[in-house]
């Protein structure tokens, strides 16, 4: 017990550092995947056959394979196969590779939710806009978008909660996120080895993080309760 208390500051420091990586990966994934998902959704809805078929094919591949494989491919393919290690060796290169894999993966999941959301807005809404002389663009931004957002908040929330935990997958390319940081104390780090308890601490970080995200999403859902 005394030993644990002694090790605590070192462990917390390391875990905090790992958590910052987790948080960064989480944020950048959402920041990138929200708009990219919308572009992909428009792709699948395109009247031009090649565009809609290509995007549907990409979605099928991305959703049909594990994110972990995608991470490994994005990270190792340029170096090992193309002999052009674009990511470099450092933590920032690993982060960039992880961010790209996560953004593309989540954008594909989001795009399917967006598509369902757009299609669930009744055709009469668009027609009312057209008859009032609005452009397609005005109709999307001033009429469809908010109705779509209202409908997709619950399924998107599920994905966001999943993302909180999925960030741990980035460990596979040695991104030093929080589980990597916790596990390091088992293998030996900062002069501490064979310690399992930091991992329990790690779980605690996730619980708090998830709690905050859940509350924030519920608040947002309530915000949109003013219309039906």
């Amino acid at each position: 017990m005394e030993l644990i208390l002694q090790q605590m500051p070192v462990v917390i420091g390391a875990l905090n550092q790992g958590f910052i990586q987790t948080l960064k990966l989480f944020s950048i994934t959402l920041l990138g995947a929200f708009p990219l998902g919308l572009i992909i959704a428009f792709g699948t809805l395109s009247k031009i056959k090649i565009i809609s078929l290509t995007t549907q094919f990409i979605i099928w591949i991305i959703r049909g394979t594990p994110l972990m494989i995608q991470l490994l491919i994005v990270y190792y393919f340029p170096g090992l196969v193309l002999h052009n290690p674009i990511w470099g060796g450092g933590e920032s290169g690993r982060f960039l590779a992880a961010a790209i894999a996560f953004i593309v993966n989540y954008a594909c999941y989001f795009s399917e939710i967006y598509r369902g959301g757009i299609q669930s807005v009744p055709a009469g809404q668009q027609e009312a806009g057209l008859v009032l002389g609005l452009t397609k663009r005005q109709i999307f931004f001033h009429i469809t978008l908010l109705q779509m957002i209202k409908r997709i908040v619950p399924p998107i929330s599920n994905e966001i909660i999943t993302l909180v935990k999925d960030t741990a997958l980035a460990r596979i390319i040695a991104l030093q996120e929080i589980i990597w940081a916790g596990q390091a104390f088992m293998k030996g780090s900062h002069g501490i080895s064979g310690a399992v308890w930091p991992l329990f601490f790690t779980a605690f970080y996730y619980l708090i993080f998830n709690g905050i995200v859940t509350v924030a999403l519920a608040w947002f859902e309530r915000k949109l309760d003013y219309f039906r």
Partner: protein, 264 residues
């Protein structure tokens, strides 16, 4: 001179011809009623006039200006259509109000966006823009008062009854001052006790000589309000004429049958 001339409108949906050559004209300040059983093509005709559907054939003229001519591809381009459809307004059977906006916001949305577009293109300076927004706000208030909703302006659609929603929809169409306002069974989605308040608003418009086309199953209303009635059947105009004559002395057998069915 006729404000609206429609010539030989034809429309097919996957090989099934829904409109088989519709011709009619409408004088300024007159109300035209279109009656006919379900599936006869009334909605499709209104949708063609509002460019929600593109006719396969035919000509649509408003104030002698050709808005649509199936043989002239220029009249079919999207940007052209957007301007031209504003000659018409359309009130839907199912209201189609925008749920995220209040009654007032629903009415103001289209003119506000048009004003913003002009401002962005720098064709309006800031003062013109401001005074336009003020006018829009004022007009919207006036119109909502006119349809009897002064005390409901800040309610969202889900807080309004069907009759109130439809009256907002009428105000929303009127604020753009269309030459011809079309109604597609404006009371069909309403509980019977709510139809009166909507019909009253339309009657008020006809008293002000607003040019209108009203598709309706309210026969009595059609007879009272319309200056002219068209009976459609199977995608053609089967009979048309003065309302009193058509309702009391229909000439075609199909018209007789239809009216008998509606009496019961």
């Amino acid at each position: 001179m006729a404000i609206l001339e429609v010539k030989n409108i034809r429309k097919k949906f996957d090989d099934i011809e829904v409109l088989k050559g519709i011709d009619f004209s409408l004088e300024k300040g007159q109300a035209l009623s279109i009656i006919g059983s379900s599936g006869s093509g009334k909605t499709t005709l209104l949708r063609c006039l509002n460019f929600l559907e593109t006719p396969d054939e035919g000509v649509i003229k408003v104030n002698d200006e050709i808005l649509f001519d199936s043989s002239d591809p220029l009249t079919r381009s999207e940007s052209q259509i957007r301007k031209k459809r504003l000659h018409f307004g359309l009130v839907f059977q199912s209201f189609n109000l925008f749920p995220q906006y209040t009654a007032l916001e629903n009415v103001m949305l289209a003119p506000k966006l048009a004003a913003k577009e002009k401002r962005n293109k720098k064709s309006d300076d800031i003062y013109e823009h401001g005074s336009k927004l003020l006018d829009i706000y004022h007009d919207a208030h006036e119109l909502l008062k006119q349809v009897g909703l002064s005390d409901r302006m800040n309610n969202y659609p889900h807080q309004l009854s069907g009759g109130q929603q439809q009256r907002v929809a009428i105000a929303r169409a009127l604020i753009l001052k269309p030459d011809i306002l079309c109604f597609d069974e404006p009371t069909s989605a309403l509980d019977p006790e709510l139809t009166g308040e909507v019909l009253k608003v339309i009657r008020g418009l006809s008293e002000k000589n607003y040019t209108m086309i009203i598709v309706t199953h309210e026969m009595e209303f059609a007879r009272d309000v319309a200056n002219h009635v068209i009976f459609m059947d199977g995608g053609v105009i089967c009979e048309q004429g003065n309302p009193r004559e058509l309702f009391e002395n229909p000439k075609e057998e199909r018209t007789k049958q239809f009216l008998i069915r509606y009496k019961n």
